[in-house]
Every structure is written in structure tokens, then in C-alpha cells.
Symmetry: C2
Amino acid sequence: MQNFVFYNPTKILFGRGTIPSIGAETAAFSRNVLLVYGQESIKKNGLYEIVTSSLKQAKISFVDHGGVQSNPTLSHVRQGIALVKEKNLGAVVAVGGGSVLDSAKAIGAGAVVAHDVWKFFTGKKSVKATLPVMTILTLAAAGSEMNSGMVLTNEETNEKFGFGHRLLYPKTSILDPEVTFTVPANYTAYGAIDAISHVLEFYMTTRDPDTPVQDRLMEGLILNSITSCDRCLKSPCDYNARANLMWTATLALNGLTAAGLGRVGFPMHMIEHSLSALYDVPHGAGLSVVIPGWLRWYSKKNPGRIASLGRHIFPETDKESLSEIDAADKTILFFQNWFQKTKSPTTLTELGIAKKEIPQIAQNSLRLARIWRLKNYSQQRVENILSLCL
Amino acid sequence: MQNFVFYNPTKILFGRGTIPSIGAETAAFSRNVLLVYGQESIKKNGLYEIVTSSLKQAKISFVDHGGVQSNPTLSHVRQGIALVKEKNLGAVVAVGGGSVLDSAKAIGAGAVVAHDVWKFFTGKKSVKATLPVMTILTLAAAGSEMNSGMVLTNEETNEKFGFGHRLLYPKTSILDPEVTFTVPANYTAYGAIDAISHVLEFYMTTRDPDTPVQDRLMEGLILNSITSCDRCLKSPCDYNARANLMWTATLALNGLTAAGLGRVGFPMHMIEHSLSALYDVPHGAGLSVVIPGWLRWYSKKNPGRIASLGRHIFPETDKESLSEIDAADKTILFFQNWFQKTKSPTTLTELGIAKKEIPQIAQNSLRLARIWRLKNYSQQRVENILSLCL
């Protein structure tokens, strides 16, 4: 095991009926807040009314900042920062999925500095303070509700960059699985695939293979992403299925899985971000294309690690007669088949992306490779991986 | 899944060479601290020198309060509280295992109130503030380094009671597996058994069996307690083995395993506490006696749950041909055999406790049953369980 620091001060309120606590939780920090959300769906389904009633009851005034898009944009974040500065607001309340939460974090960090918020993402400035952020999660996927990361797309430069800092943990995150009952099947699956990818990235890029406590944790999370998602797709209003998937996605990227692994990387995310930036592909759909290709590429380097994952979670790969290579192949095939079963795309072709576009995607991803210090990822290597995603 | 709040703000510094950080970590809270530790071993092995050098370098003055015993006593805690009040100290630094850490927490809570600290344990007073507590862990076992609990023995009344409060989380805990290289074989095993018991208590007393994400997490922790302990016993200076065991024991009782299970209980601890209180049995040794007996008793009520645990972690119980009862029996036997393999006692007889003493042990445990609200545990029930431990 490698040395690590684990510190995660986010308070989680989980379960039915927890959303009306948002007023009291927020009042501990500020009485003037920016309310960040996505499209109009939270107004149609009543969630907006529940949240704003709770804020009003706690005597908190709020300024609306709806309209966050999937693959959230820098320009919308900049508008939020301007609003906070103009109205002198003291906290940010986010109601939505990862895009909304990440936007809220970026607004919270950008509102307390004079420079442009994008400088955090390009590594030109570091975070020294932020506004408190409270979140109400509506999608089991990104894990942003209990981590210190955020991802944003700069539409001017076609860059989708991610960034993390210990001050970016939300103060309180409220997770009510019932609000995810209405998440459509495709986004339910994309969310589960996002959670799987977060665990897979660390499982595969660990610098230390001798961390059985972490391995068993990660294997359990991957397995449960799959089994809970299957239940959600079958019965969208199965509370326990939604709850297990929601908590799994949170645990999948709250820092716990990385403990002891050394400096892990996000190579699959790095490549996927270019798909989202260039083609506005939903994040989970991009991942379901990149994961099998990346694993096929990686299995040439380290089939043993992929085989080990499979042997611990998929009964059909747990046969001693199977060679490492065969067990790795079966594991990759299991993921690909399961993605297909959930009707998620597994090839670039399905996304309408042709072979000739690969060099341009690879080129885009290299910018993030530099910032994320994935030094071994050359243009050629990313092209090779993308070729395995066709 | 049941509703839950998860909030664990302890900062963990894990790994080789982390102990000299104690000065800087403590300086953030106070420059005058009580230094709590156990017997003289930390002076012999150099740890005391490393810790106090770091404190001095950070310009922190400290008052020594050594002498904490295994099964820490109320009287020693009271002396620590008197010292803090007399010298007007601002924080507590603990260097030791669970007994030392729990004593430090009790001193931190007792030092800021006028009433006696035992009133927290009997439920007559609640914690409203505490001194900051920093810890350096020397034994993988109790989990106190990252939780809000503490256990103390009142020698006057022969009561060993435990108590938890959200203000009792240590601010920072430093975990360097190297300091556990010298833990003797019996205490290494007792520590692993303590970690196993923490997970087992929740796994078995859950109010909600439909929490697969939690089940996989708990099964992984139990399995890893066993496999890591085996490695430690074989090679006491195997860093990764010690590291995996240490982190497993921390995760086994940091609140994570309980998320979503509803109100869980500690019936095995309740009974073991009476063994420790009346016979000064090491906690882990008491648990290795109580666990098999309690499981045998519980298997008559719910063999399915025990069988499910076994099927997920012990290959020999994962056969479809086995009935639930048989799989449960095999699981219990697996634990008992493994305890014996580590040379831990598995019967009251081995502890020198005769059948005729059972009523008195049961009577002692009922006091804790009331405080811990284990309402179903009558004198008769505890006697029945203890009879299965003979």
C-alpha cells in the first residue's frame, strides 16, 4: 500500500424525505444563496417547489441560476459567478446531477477570486478559498456530491477539463433515491457506467497491486453498479435498487477507492472528455464506447489485472482452466455485452464518428493528458486505443 | 436501504514516515497538550522520542499521561481530566491502541464539563463540546482512530460501557503500519478478530437485508481481516500485510459499514464487555469466545444471513448443494477454526470461566443491554448464548 491522506468532510443525508432539510443545512452558512439547476424538469416534477419552500422557511433568499446543460459550460458558470458577485451571495445550492453540482463548485471557487475561473482548470491558478456548496442530487453517476472534483467544458476552445481541490467538497449533500425514479433508462445506465468507470480507472491504473482491502471494495462497487442498474431498468421505481445504485455511485468516487493505490490516472475519462467536447456525447455514452476499447488495449500490457477483476466478480471468468488472456477477454466481453444490454453505445460508429476523425480526437485529448500528467499517452497511443473503439 | 446520515471529518495520514507530522497537525489546534499513552513500550521502541521531537519542533508543550491499560479505566481517565484542567491544556494527543485512543476521547470530553465523565457513559449527560483529539495508532483493531466511539471500564462498579457522539471524531489520525511490526502474534490476531466482530455485528443485526452495496463492502472487510492477519502472523514485518490489516480495521468501524442498515446493535460486544469487566480478558480474546457462540444461537433464528456471508467469502460454503443450515454451520465452523488457528481462545473454559459463572456474567451484561437499547436481550437469552460458548 502506498501512503495516502484521506479526508472527506462532506456530510451526507441519505434517504426518503431528506430534501426539506436543505434550508436548515444551508442556514448554517448563509442566508443569501445562488440556486443552481439544470433544465425545467425540476419545476415540472415539484422538486423546485420543495427546495425553495425549505429555503424560504429557513429565511434564506435565493437567486435563480437554472439552465445548466449536460456537459456543463464555462460561459454558464461565468454568468453564475457574475450573479454571485453582483448580489453579494454567500453560498451556492445545487439541485441536479453531476453537471449541476460541478457548475456550483466552479461558481463557488470562481466567485471569491478576481481572475477567470478557467485558470483553475488549466492549472494556472490554485484554489485558496471557496463559497460553501450544498447539493441535492438527482442522478446517480458522477460522485461529485461527495468529492472534491469538478469538470467543465470550455465551448470556445472545445476543451472539457476536470480539476480537484480539497476545498471543493460540498458541505452537505442530500441524496434522496426517490427523485431518481424518473431518470430515463438510458441515463440510468449512463450513470451506472460512469460509476463503473470511476472504479475501473483506479483499479487498472493503481501503482500498487498489493491492496486487497481496496480491491475487494472496488470489485463490490463495480458488481453492485451492474446489479443495481439492472434492477432499476427493470423496475424504475424500486426504491432499494435506486438507493443502492445512488450510494454505489457516491462511494465510487469519494476518495475511498483510491486510498493506498498511489497516483492513479483517468485515461478513459481523458479520451472520453474529447468525445464530449467535440461531439457533445453524453458522458456515460462516451465512456461505454471508450471502456471496452481501452481495456482491449490494456489487456496486451496487463491481462492479469483485468483477469483478476473478472475472476472476483463474474462467475464465468472464475475458472482455473482459463488462461489470464482468456479470462481478461471474457471480462472485457462481459462489460461490452452488459453495456449493449443497457442499450448504451459500445462503438464510435454508433456515435456517428468515423475512423478518419480519430486523429483529431486524439489531438484534443492530449491537452488534458498534459494537465492530468498522463505523460505516456502520446498521439499514437490514443489513436491506437480509439481504433479499438471503432 | 434505510435513511442515514454519514459524516466523518477525521483526517487520516496513512503510511510510512507519517508520524513526524503530529506536531504540525496538532499546532493547528493548540500549543499545550496532554500526551496520553499506555505502558512504557513506546519509550523503548523510540516512538515516544519521534512524537515528542515533532511536538517540540512545532513549539508545542505537553504534559505526560502514560499508563493507560488494556480495558482502560475510568480512574485513569479522571486523572487525565484533572491534569488538563489544572494545566489548562487545549488538546489531547494519543499514542497507542484503542484503549489509549478511547481514554484520550474521554479525557477530551470530560475536560470541558464540570460533572463526572462517567455520566456520558450511563446516558445521564450528553456531549456538547470536546477538546480536539489527535491520534497516532499502534494497533490495528478498535477503529477508534476514525470513529466517534469510546469504551471505558468503571473498576468500582465492574461496568465496561461504550458511548458514541459526533463530536468525538479525532481531528487527525496518523496510521503508520510499521509501528505494528512489533505487535505480538496474539494481539495481532485479537485485533483482526475485533475488526471482524465490528463488521459481523452490523452484518447480522441489520434491519434491512436489501443493501447489496453494503454487504459486498462488509464481506470484503471480513475476508481481508482474515487474509491480512494470516500474512502478518507468518511475516510480522510484511509492510503490505500490516497496512492492509490496519486500514481494514479502520474501515470496519468508521460508520461506513452501517450506512443504510438502520439501527444496528452490538450484542456480541455487549456480552464480551462483561467478560472483560469481570475477568479482565483482552477484548479480542473475549470476542473470539463470544462470536462462535452468538452465531450458533443466531443461526437458529436466521441461518440464511450467516449462510449468505459464508457463500460470499468462503469457497467451501459456496456450493448450491448445501442447505442454508449447513452453509451457516460451515461458516461458523470456519470462523471458529480460524480463531483457533491464530491461537485465540474459542471457549469460556479456555478463559478459565466455569458454567456456574454464566448467570453472573449475564446479569452484568444486562446493564449495558439497557443503555444500548438491546431490549430483546433478557437474562435467559444471554445465558443461552453463553452456554453455547462453553
